[in-house]
Protein backbone atom coordinates (compact mmCIF):
# COMPACT_ATOMS: atom_id res chain seq x y z
CA UNK A 1 0.00 0.00 0.00
CA UNK A 2 2.10 2.89 -1.26
CA UNK A 3 0.88 6.32 -0.18
CA UNK A 4 1.24 8.81 -3.03
CA UNK A 5 -0.03 11.87 -1.23
CA UNK A 6 -1.41 12.60 2.21
CA UNK A 7 -2.91 15.47 4.15
CA UNK A 8 -3.97 15.89 7.75
CA UNK A 9 -6.53 18.46 8.79
CA UNK A 10 -8.00 19.33 12.14
CA UNK A 11 -10.64 21.89 13.03
CA UNK A 12 -13.09 22.88 15.73
CA UNK A 13 -16.43 21.07 16.03
CA UNK A 14 -18.46 24.06 14.84
CA UNK A 15 -21.24 23.31 12.43
CA UNK A 16 -20.08 25.84 9.85
CA UNK A 17 -16.97 23.70 9.45
CA UNK A 18 -19.06 20.94 7.85
CA UNK A 19 -18.86 22.62 4.46
CA UNK A 20 -15.18 23.42 5.05
CA UNK A 21 -14.46 19.72 5.61
CA UNK A 22 -16.20 18.81 2.37
CA UNK A 23 -14.24 21.45 0.45
CA UNK A 24 -10.90 20.32 1.85
CA UNK A 25 -11.43 16.68 1.05
CA UNK A 26 -12.65 17.42 -2.45
CA UNK A 27 -9.77 19.81 -3.16
CA UNK A 28 -7.36 17.01 -2.24
CA UNK A 29 -9.19 14.28 -4.12
CA UNK A 30 -9.32 16.44 -7.27
CA UNK A 31 -5.76 15.46 -8.16
CA UNK A 32 -7.09 12.00 -9.04
CA UNK A 33 -9.46 13.57 -11.56
CA UNK A 34 -12.66 11.97 -10.18
CA UNK A 35 -16.01 12.16 -11.94
CA UNK A 36 -18.57 14.61 -10.58
CA UNK A 37 -20.52 11.69 -9.13
CA UNK A 38 -17.49 10.19 -7.39
CA UNK A 39 -16.67 13.58 -5.90
CA UNK A 40 -20.27 14.10 -4.74
CA UNK A 41 -20.28 10.63 -3.12
CA UNK A 42 -17.10 11.40 -1.20
CA UNK A 43 -18.37 14.82 -0.10
CA UNK A 44 -21.61 13.30 1.14
CA UNK A 45 -19.85 10.59 3.16
CA UNK A 46 -17.44 13.15 4.67
CA UNK A 47 -20.35 15.41 5.55
CA UNK A 48 -22.06 12.55 7.43
CA UNK A 49 -18.99 11.56 9.41
CA UNK A 50 -18.05 15.15 10.32
CA UNK A 51 -21.62 16.00 11.32
CA UNK A 52 -21.67 12.96 13.59
CA UNK A 53 -18.57 14.26 15.39
CA UNK A 54 -20.29 17.60 15.92
CA UNK A 55 -23.77 16.45 16.92
CA UNK A 56 -22.99 13.17 18.71
CA UNK A 57 -19.34 12.93 19.77
CA UNK A 58 -19.02 16.53 21.01
CA UNK A 59 -22.69 17.11 21.76
CA UNK A 60 -22.10 19.04 24.98
CA UNK A 61 -18.71 20.60 24.30
CA UNK A 62 -16.40 22.10 21.72
CA UNK A 63 -13.85 19.57 20.49
CA UNK A 64 -11.42 18.95 17.67
CA UNK A 65 -12.13 16.85 14.58
CA UNK A 66 -9.21 15.20 12.76
CA UNK A 67 -9.23 14.13 9.13
CA UNK A 68 -6.54 12.26 7.22
CA UNK A 69 -6.88 11.87 3.47
CA UNK A 70 -4.55 9.53 1.61
CA UNK A 71 -4.14 8.84 -2.04
CA UNK A 72 -2.99 5.26 -2.43
CA UNK A 73 -1.18 3.91 -5.47
CA UNK A 74 -3.67 2.60 -7.99
CA UNK A 75 -6.18 5.41 -7.47
CA UNK A 76 -7.68 4.62 -4.08
CA UNK A 77 -8.76 7.30 -1.63
CA UNK A 78 -8.62 6.56 2.09
CA UNK A 79 -10.32 8.97 4.48
CA UNK A 80 -10.04 8.77 8.25
CA UNK A 81 -12.30 10.95 10.40
CA UNK A 82 -11.55 10.95 14.11
CA UNK A 83 -12.96 12.55 17.23
CA UNK A 84 -12.09 12.39 20.94
CA UNK A 85 -15.74 12.54 21.94
CA UNK A 86 -18.17 10.29 23.78
CA UNK A 87 -17.67 7.14 21.69
CA UNK A 88 -20.28 4.64 20.52
CA UNK A 89 -21.57 1.99 22.91
CA UNK A 90 -22.99 -0.45 20.38
CA UNK A 91 -21.47 -0.01 16.92
CA UNK A 92 -23.60 -2.72 15.35
CA UNK A 93 -26.82 -1.03 16.45
CA UNK A 94 -25.50 2.46 15.57
CA UNK A 95 -24.89 1.37 11.99
CA UNK A 96 -28.42 0.14 11.42
CA UNK A 97 -30.37 2.34 9.03
CA UNK A 98 -32.80 4.67 10.83
CA UNK A 99 -31.16 4.08 14.20
CA UNK A 100 -30.45 7.35 15.97
CA UNK A 101 -29.97 8.40 19.57
CA UNK A 102 -31.08 11.93 18.76
CA UNK A 103 -34.50 11.79 17.17
CA UNK A 104 -35.80 15.16 16.14
CA UNK A 105 -34.22 16.16 12.90
CA UNK A 106 -31.64 13.34 12.66
CA UNK A 107 -32.71 10.70 10.18
CA UNK A 108 -30.50 7.90 11.47
CA UNK A 109 -29.09 7.48 7.97
CA UNK A 110 -25.55 8.79 8.38
CA UNK A 111 -23.89 5.37 8.44
CA UNK A 112 -26.20 4.07 5.71
CA UNK A 113 -25.07 6.91 3.44
CA UNK A 114 -21.39 6.33 4.21
CA UNK A 115 -21.78 2.63 3.48
CA UNK A 116 -23.65 3.15 0.27
CA UNK A 117 -21.51 5.99 -1.12
CA UNK A 118 -18.08 4.57 -0.28
CA UNK A 119 -16.57 1.16 -1.13
CA UNK A 120 -15.58 0.32 2.43
CA UNK A 121 -16.12 1.66 5.93
CA UNK A 122 -14.56 0.62 9.25
CA UNK A 123 -15.67 2.00 12.61
CA UNK A 124 -13.47 2.01 15.70
CA UNK A 125 -14.87 3.42 18.88
CA UNK A 126 -14.26 3.43 22.62
CA UNK A 127 -16.80 4.88 25.02
CA UNK A 128 -15.36 8.01 26.62
CA UNK A 129 -12.36 7.98 24.26
CA UNK A 130 -13.74 8.70 20.81
CA UNK A 131 -14.46 7.29 17.40
CA UNK A 132 -12.52 6.76 14.18
CA UNK A 133 -14.27 6.16 10.87
CA UNK A 134 -12.08 4.88 8.03
CA UNK A 135 -13.56 4.91 4.55
CA UNK A 136 -12.17 3.94 1.18
CA UNK A 137 -13.17 4.50 -2.39
CA UNK A 138 -11.47 3.65 -5.67
CA UNK A 139 -11.53 6.31 -8.32
CA UNK A 140 -12.01 5.00 -11.84
CA UNK A 141 -8.90 5.72 -13.88
CA UNK A 142 -9.39 8.00 -16.80
CA UNK A 143 -7.17 9.82 -19.31
CA UNK A 144 -4.50 11.73 -17.43
CA UNK A 145 -3.54 11.46 -13.79
CA UNK A 146 -1.35 13.66 -11.76
CA UNK A 147 0.99 11.56 -9.70
Amino acid sequence: MKIINETNISFMSKSNNESFARSVVSAFVLQLDPTITELADIKTAVSEAVTNCIVHAYKYEMGTIYITVRIIEGGKIQIKIRDKGCGIENIHEAMEPLFTTMGGERAGLGFAVMQSFMDKIRVNSKVGKGTTITMEKSIIRRAKNNE
Partner: protein, 108 residues
Protein backbone atom coordinates in the same frame (compact mmCIF):
# COMPACT_ATOMS: atom_id res chain seq x y z
CA UNK B 1 -31.07 33.29 1.44
CA UNK B 2 -31.09 29.53 1.71
CA UNK B 3 -34.85 29.14 1.24
CA UNK B 4 -37.37 31.07 -0.83
CA UNK B 5 -40.94 30.81 0.39
CA UNK B 6 -44.03 31.64 -1.62
CA UNK B 7 -47.70 30.85 -1.06
CA UNK B 8 -50.87 30.79 -3.06
CA UNK B 9 -54.34 29.36 -2.40
CA UNK B 10 -53.38 27.98 0.97
CA UNK B 11 -50.39 26.13 -0.40
CA UNK B 12 -46.79 26.92 0.49
CA UNK B 13 -43.80 26.31 -1.73
CA UNK B 14 -40.39 26.37 -0.05
CA UNK B 15 -37.58 26.41 -2.57
CA UNK B 16 -34.40 25.19 -0.92
CA UNK B 17 -31.20 26.77 -2.22
CA UNK B 18 -27.57 25.63 -2.24
CA UNK B 19 -26.17 23.03 0.13
CA UNK B 20 -28.20 21.19 2.76
CA UNK B 21 -26.22 19.91 5.70
CA UNK B 22 -26.79 19.89 9.47
CA UNK B 23 -25.58 23.52 9.63
CA UNK B 24 -27.72 25.02 6.87
CA UNK B 25 -30.77 22.81 7.54
CA UNK B 26 -31.36 24.59 10.83
CA UNK B 27 -32.12 27.98 9.28
CA UNK B 28 -34.19 26.38 6.52
CA UNK B 29 -36.25 24.47 9.06
CA UNK B 30 -36.92 27.51 11.19
CA UNK B 31 -38.09 29.60 8.27
CA UNK B 32 -40.33 26.93 6.83
CA UNK B 33 -41.89 26.04 10.17
CA UNK B 34 -42.69 29.60 11.15
CA UNK B 35 -44.39 30.17 7.80
CA UNK B 36 -46.31 26.88 7.98
CA UNK B 37 -47.54 27.62 11.49
CA UNK B 38 -48.79 31.00 10.34
CA UNK B 39 -50.50 29.85 7.15
CA UNK B 40 -51.48 26.28 8.11
CA UNK B 41 -51.32 25.25 4.45
CA UNK B 42 -53.22 22.35 2.88
CA UNK B 43 -50.00 21.41 1.10
CA UNK B 44 -46.35 22.25 1.76
CA UNK B 45 -44.14 21.76 -1.30
CA UNK B 46 -40.41 21.34 -0.74
CA UNK B 47 -38.73 22.24 -4.03
CA UNK B 48 -35.26 20.70 -4.42
CA UNK B 49 -34.48 22.05 -7.90
CA UNK B 50 -31.82 24.49 -6.62
CA UNK B 51 -30.13 22.12 -4.18
CA UNK B 52 -26.51 21.52 -5.19
CA UNK B 53 -25.63 19.19 -2.37
CA UNK B 54 -27.33 17.40 0.47
CA UNK B 55 -26.44 14.78 3.04
CA UNK B 56 -28.84 12.90 5.33
CA UNK B 57 -29.68 16.19 7.08
CA UNK B 58 -31.81 16.85 3.99
CA UNK B 59 -33.70 13.64 4.66
CA UNK B 60 -34.16 14.68 8.28
CA UNK B 61 -35.50 18.00 7.06
CA UNK B 62 -38.11 16.24 4.91
CA UNK B 63 -39.09 13.80 7.66
CA UNK B 64 -39.41 16.61 10.18
CA UNK B 65 -41.65 18.64 7.85
CA UNK B 66 -43.71 15.50 7.19
CA UNK B 67 -44.41 15.18 10.91
CA UNK B 68 -45.09 18.88 11.24
CA UNK B 69 -47.62 18.83 8.39
CA UNK B 70 -49.37 15.87 9.97
CA UNK B 71 -49.77 17.92 13.14
CA UNK B 72 -51.06 20.88 11.15
CA UNK B 73 -53.47 18.67 9.22
CA UNK B 74 -51.89 19.25 5.81
CA UNK B 75 -49.83 17.31 3.31
CA UNK B 76 -46.15 17.37 2.35
CA UNK B 77 -44.87 17.02 -1.20
CA UNK B 78 -41.24 16.87 -2.32
CA UNK B 79 -40.84 18.21 -5.85
CA UNK B 80 -38.17 18.76 -8.49
CA UNK B 81 -35.55 16.40 -7.13
CA UNK B 82 -32.53 16.77 -9.43
CA UNK B 83 -30.88 13.67 -10.82
CA UNK B 84 -27.80 13.99 -8.66
CA UNK B 85 -29.92 13.71 -5.48
CA UNK B 86 -31.92 10.70 -6.59
CA UNK B 87 -29.63 8.15 -4.97
CA UNK B 88 -29.73 9.70 -1.52
CA UNK B 89 -33.49 10.20 -1.79
CA UNK B 90 -33.94 6.55 -2.79
CA UNK B 91 -31.78 5.36 0.08
CA UNK B 92 -33.87 7.34 2.54
CA UNK B 93 -37.04 5.34 2.19
CA UNK B 94 -38.93 8.61 1.80
CA UNK B 95 -40.75 6.91 -1.05
CA UNK B 96 -42.66 4.92 1.55
CA UNK B 97 -44.05 8.12 3.08
CA UNK B 98 -45.66 8.92 -0.27
CA UNK B 99 -44.22 12.43 -0.32
CA UNK B 100 -42.05 12.11 -3.43
CA UNK B 101 -43.71 13.16 -6.65
CA UNK B 102 -42.55 13.40 -10.22
CA UNK B 103 -44.18 16.77 -10.69
CA UNK B 104 -42.12 19.20 -12.70
CA UNK B 105 -39.07 16.97 -12.64
CA UNK B 106 -35.88 18.76 -13.60
CA UNK B 107 -32.57 17.45 -14.84
CA UNK B 108 -29.40 18.77 -13.29
Amino acid sequence: MSVKISHENGKITAKLMGEIDHHTAKAMREEIDSEAEKIKPAVLYLDFSEVQFMDSSGIGLVMGRFRQMELLGGKLRVINVPEHLERIMALSGLGALGVLTNEGKVKK
